[in-house]
């Protein structure tokens, strides 16, 4: 990958990072330098350490731990933000952001959004539905500041297929905005059908709710409130009717994270810390960190028309898709979730070494080893859903209805390793960060 531009000061080596990608790759979105699908995880050799990734329809945005922004993959709408409209299988920095400190980014189907530490919002890529928020329907191949947010108080951007959501900080009541295509209600700005808007408008229904996170994918929108409630609007799940106003999911569960696909959303229940628990109580909280799915009636059976369920008749008394616990995980604690268009990924919990030191003061080695066996599934990545392009990373193109462990062909079995997983429409990225003991 000689075309990679490396112009960074030496980054901290207290962490060692490995990055893998797999799935659909014909637009260069896997960062391998090849234009082909990969059925198994491919180890990438990156000249920088990744702080966070955003994966879109067929492009990827990366924020490095030095604060630079790189992009690669499909660029035909300008979504790579590099000043041109061409695909690139090579990772290159978005030079526009030299001098800015980007803190958050989002990749939609063919547009991109960036938030700076000063609370400014920038967008680029396909603007034909108004999803860039600049008051026009033009596409831009370099990031352009969204001038609507004059107070520079943008906290988060979420890019869907043809729409965008913005979360403002310190702005209770008017904290969520939408722009772009609104035909399925995904902007939440009106009870009437709005074809599209090119300037941000306030999403209704959050007058008395504190929103802490937003999410957009396909024609869906979602947000999480500070007290762990999920709100969804836009296209209905499992053929339920579209929602033009955010709907609060009726559930007694408390959610810490949501990940939207094109026909499903994953939900992670709030995780409590094990560190302060005794052996007995740590078992008692094993139910936390559970994954639930809303919609997704065809998740994992897309390639098999026989198994696909036709439009589900709505339950007589409710237009709400049922919330179902993802099966096959038993008591495994899940710490992270991600959703592609039609596939899902999760990271299982990884116990901290200090926890074992704590345990070792109470239990014999034999006890500890049996405990280690019992949690052998921890700290791994699992995938399920549609697999035709290898996006599950299981070495084949099969669909999976239940989570399956991905083999990263990685020799390190360390409790110091932490995993992150990210899904684009038809591809997946995994990052393992290993904390190295200080050399000094």
């Amino acid at each position: 990958m000689e075309e990679i531009e490396v112009n960074q000061s030496s980054e901290s080596k207290e962490e060692e990072q490995r990055v893998w990608s797999w799935g659909a790759g014909t637009d260069g979105q896997l960062g391998t330098g090849c234009l082909q699908d990969e059925l198994s995880p491919q180890l990438l050799h990156l000249p920088f350490s990744i702080s966070t990734l955003a994966c879109g329809g067929a492009h990827v945005l990366a924020l490095t731990s030095c604060g630079r922004v790189f992009s690669w993959g499909r660029g035909t709408s300008g979504q790579l933000g590099r000043g041109d409209m061409v695909n690139s299988s090579y990772l290159k920095p978005i030079s526009f952001f030299d001098g800015y400190s980007v803190t958050q980014l989002s990749a939609g189907w063919s547009h991109s959004g960036f938030v700076s530490d000063s609370g400014c919002l920038f967008t680029c890529g396909d603007g034909s539905f108004g999803q860039l928020g600049h008051g026009d329907y033009s596409s831009y191949c370099s990031p352009v500041k969204v001038s609507y947010f004059t107070n520079n108080n943008v906290q988060q951007i979420a890019c869907g297929m043809r729409h965008s959501l913005v979360l403002l900080k310190d702005c209770l009541g008017n904290q969520v905005y939408g722009f772009g295509s609104g035909k399925r209600g995904q902007l939440g700005i009106s009870k009437d059908k709005i074809r599209s808007v090119s300037l941000p408008q306030v999403t209704n229904g959050f007058e008395d709710v504190e929103i802490v996170g937003i999410s957009a994918n396909g024609d869906h929108s979602a947000s999480l409130s500070a007290n762990g409630h999920l709100y969804t609007w836009g296209k209905g799940f499992n053929k339920t009717s579209d929602s033009y106003i955010p709907q609060c999911l009726s559930s007694s569960l408390c959610f810490s994270k949501t990940a939207l696909g094109w026909n499903h959303t994953l939900l992670l229940t709030v995780t409590r810390l094990y560190m302060t628990c005794s052996w007995q109580s740590s078992i008692s909280v094993a139910g936390d960190g559970e994954v639930f799915m809303l919609g997704g009636s065809n998740h994992g059976v897309l390639s098999d028309p026989e198994k696909m369920s036709p439009a589900k008749p709505l339950s007589e008394n409710s237009n709400e898709a049922a919330l179902e616990k993802v099966s096959g995980l038993d008591d495994t604690k899940v710490v992270q979730i991600a959703a592609g268009a039609e596939h899902s990924a999760l990271v299982t919990g990884n116990f901290q070494p200090s926890f074992f030191i704590y345990l070792s003061t109470y239990f014999s080695l034999a006890h500890l080893f049996s405990f280690l066996n019992a949690i052998a599934d921890n700290g791994i990545i699992m995938t399920w859903g549609w697999g035709e392009h290898g996006q599950l990373g299981l070495g084949n193109t099969s669909d999976q209805t239940k989570p399956k462990a991905v083999s990263l062909d990685d020799e390190v079995q360390s409790n110091d390793a932490s995993f992150q997983v990210y899904c684009g429409s038809g591809f997946t990225y995994a990052i393992r960060t290993l904390s190295l003991p200080s050399q000094t």
Binding site: A24, D27, W386, H389
Partner: protein, 82 residues
């Protein structure tokens, strides 16, 4: 089985490919040409995978070529689903 039902007004005209397109979950695009629409075809295939969508359109909008060449989905009023 069809992945989804999509109205023609929600598809985008791709000048380069000379087809109407709609995003496919694999990352590629479902595609259908004007000739296919004129012949009554309702299936738009994705060149990269096995999925297809059902296109909802009024065939009469595509039959009279001369008159309908100005048809631009992004500016068109909603087409009544047949």
């Amino acid at each position: 089985m069809s992945y989804d039902d999509v109205e023609i007004e929600d598809m985008e005209w791709n000048e380069e490919l000379q087809v109407y397109t709609y995003p496919c979950p694999c990352g590629d695009l479902f595609q259908i040409s004007k000739a296919e629409l004129q012949s009554g075809e309702v299936m738009a295939n994705c060149p990269s995978c096995t999925l297809f969508i059902t296109v909802i359109y009024n065939i009469e909008d595509f039959l009279d070529k001369k008159q309908k060449d100005k048809f631009e989905p992004s500016k068109q009023q909603p087409v009544a689903a047949a």
